[in-house]
Amino acid sequence: MRYLLRRAAFYAVALWAAVTLNFALPRMMPGNPMQVLVAKFRGRINPDALYAYAKLFGLDRHVSLWAQYWQYIGQLLHGNLGVSLGLYPETVSAALMQALPWTLFLLGLSTLISFILGTLLGMVSAWRRGSFLDAVAPTVFTLTGSFPYFWLALLLLYFFAFQLPWFPLGHAYGSSTSGWSFANLPDILYHAVLPALTIVVTSIGGWLLSMRNNMINTLSEEYVKVAKAKGLSDRRIMMTYAARNAILPNVTSFALSLGFILSGAILTEVVFSYPGLGYTLFQAVGNMDYPMMQGALLLIALAVLVANFIADLVYVKLDPRARQG
């Protein structure tokens, strides 16, 4: 429990850092941010939207930075992320809430597949040192792991959606269906195949390699030797003695590499026009939609923190030593 409390304290600090960074971002633009914005958009944008943005970040008032900061945090606590400059009068939070489920779905699905598959492959290739699988899998997936996400996405799109029209060219669902419902699930899954494949292929190598290395290390542990001396079945030695211990560091790095995978997912979403957070962020950049950009960044940071906390919970469940803190 103490361990979790300590982690929670850390996440609170990290969240505070993310919020503060977000507050600071518009102030990184040179000059008076308000004037810069007005000059930049010169009539292309609804002045109300710009005003709402300035208000959220306190760019319009001549009060102390400190007061502006507290004002901003107060707004955030009310779930107010401002109004989108590009999609005025839609609010940022509404737009992001629409995008969030898609990212969670795509990323959750592909990360889970990649984690499970990679961990299993790593486990088996370490258990069968020197086998064909062990000779091929780590090298092949190390190579695919260094592929640029977006290029792989482009290639898949070209071959499996354009040349061989097996899969759709993009988007999360077809024109006949819209949004989430159980009846739409086949269509949604159908649209998710290529983007998910991109993420799985490029991220599987990391899990495989780290699981393999951990497993090789645990296999030389004394307790594995004793387990063998006890006459336990290979299956039990592999699962309960070697893999159970080898997976612990993988759970920790699962959380840490989530940020990295998320980055790849953003590029994938852009290539496939997948309406998730990454695509929204990308469009916001194109529209110079600052409130949307910052809102998306904050939400992504929050999502990573939550995922990390879940990983911590799993870790505590798996490792009795962590329970004592």
């Binding site: 850390f10 600090v13 990290a14 850092a17 993310a18 960074l21 971002l25 518009p26 990184m28 633009m29 040179p30 020197g130 000779a135 780590p138 090298t139 190390t142 190579l143 792991g145 260094s146 592929f147 640029p148 996400y149 977006f150 290029w151 482009l154 290639l155 799109l157 070209y158 354009f162 190598g205 390699l209 290395n213 090789i216 030389s220 959380a255 840490l256 989530l258 940020g259 990295f260 998320l262 980055s263 790849g264 953003i266 590029l267 990454g278 962020l281 990308f282 950049v285 194109g286 110079m288 600052y290 950009m293 910052q294 998306a296 960044l297 992504i300 940071a301 990573v304 923190l305 990390n308």
Partner: protein, 316 residues
């Protein structure tokens, strides 16, 4: 490349009575040369370095020149064809390699230096300094890099490669710092560090003369990882159109080929070279990294050929 061979040999090798002379460079490099992954990784890396360094000799065509027939497939005059704007893809590729490698190496080295500084400082000094640095490291580790880079690239006022390099360094150092810190923490407790203290060495000498030489392979692996991260992130940003679009590099080549519909018009000679180059360079770096792992951790080494034959014999 003799770096890895500098690591202390495993203890069981330390049999008594053997008197070896100080090893020459060639014998030190031997385990490296025997590792297939290391050699193929190095070959790939050297290939791209060669192109980058000798770019002016490899092509005389200005990569920006739009003087040619658009969308020509590869030919003798244009080994990699032309773009839809009539530029020579080969010369773009050659100069793009230079530009992409430059960003990758500069940002990679920058991130590495930052992680060495923070990691070593945090690990060796300890106390409050360590707690603060560790907190910062963990926050940077957890904050997703690319979205931040995207937003920063959009917000920061100046153009060119510099902002990209800065943001890549800022988002890429944390992982290495964490690894190095934990390594310093274990090494700080080693008796030879305490012995050096008893021998009157200053803190500076202990860090740089006693600890650093034993961490070279880790730092090298960290550098490889940082370069890979930098190349991928830079290409991703440029592909999204967030870099300097007038510059010629792998990322902008892909950006233009994508926006100009090279994919749909089947102009593979345009989008394959830059993408494949990123993949191959990445593969080279990963293979080297993998090899460093194997060379420094004897447990991970693959079986010698003779032993594999022996096992086959036993199995049959």
């Amino acid at each position: 490349m003799q770096i890895m061979a500098l690591d202390p040999p495993p203890r069981q090798d330390m049999g008594a009575g053997r008197t070896r002379k100080k090893k020459g460079l060639l014998t030190r490099a031997a385990p490296f040369l025997r590792n297939r992954k290391a050699v193929s990784g190095a070959v790939l890396l050297v290939f791209f370095l060669f192109i980058a360094v000798f770019a002016p000799l490899l092509t005389k065509i200005n990569p920006d020149s739009t003087a040619f027939m658009p969308l020509q497939p590869p030919s003798a005059a244009h080994p990699l064809g032309t773009t839809s704007m009539g530029q020579d893809v080969f010369s773009q590729f050659v100069w793009g390699t230079q530009s992409s490698l430059f960003v990758g190496v500069v940002a990679g080295v920058g991130a590495m230096v930052l992680s060495v500084l923070v990691g070593m400082l945090s690990g060796y000094i300890g106390g409050v300094v360590d707690e603060v640095l560790q907190l910062i490291t963990n926050i940077f580790l957890i904050i997703p890099g690319l979205p931040l880079v995207i937003v920063l690239a959009a917000v920061l006022p100046f153009g060119g490669n510099l902002p990209m390099i800065i943001v890549i360094v800022l988002t890429g150092w944390a992982w290495g710092a964490r690894v190095l810190r934990s390594q310093v923490l274990t090494m700080r407790e080693l008796p030879y560090v305490e012995s050096a203290k008893m021998g009157g060495e200053s803190a500076w000498n202990i860090v740089f003369r006693e600890l650093l030489p034993n961490m070279i392979s880790l730092i090298f692996a960290n550098l490889l990882f940082s370069i890979l991260y930098a190349v991928l992130t830079a290409a991703g940003l440029q592909f999204l159109g967030l870099g300097d679009l007038k510059a010629v590099n792998w990322g902008t080549m892909l950006y233009w080929s994508d926006t100009e519909g090279a994919l749909l018009s089947g102009a593979w000679w345009w989008f394959v070279p830059p993408g494949l180059s990123i993949a191959l360079l990445g593969a080279g770096l990963s293979l080297l990294n993998y090899a460093v792992d194997e060379l420094t951790n004897p447990k991970l080494r693959s079986l010698p050929l003779r032993l594999r034959a022996l096992r086959r014999r036993r199995a049959s």
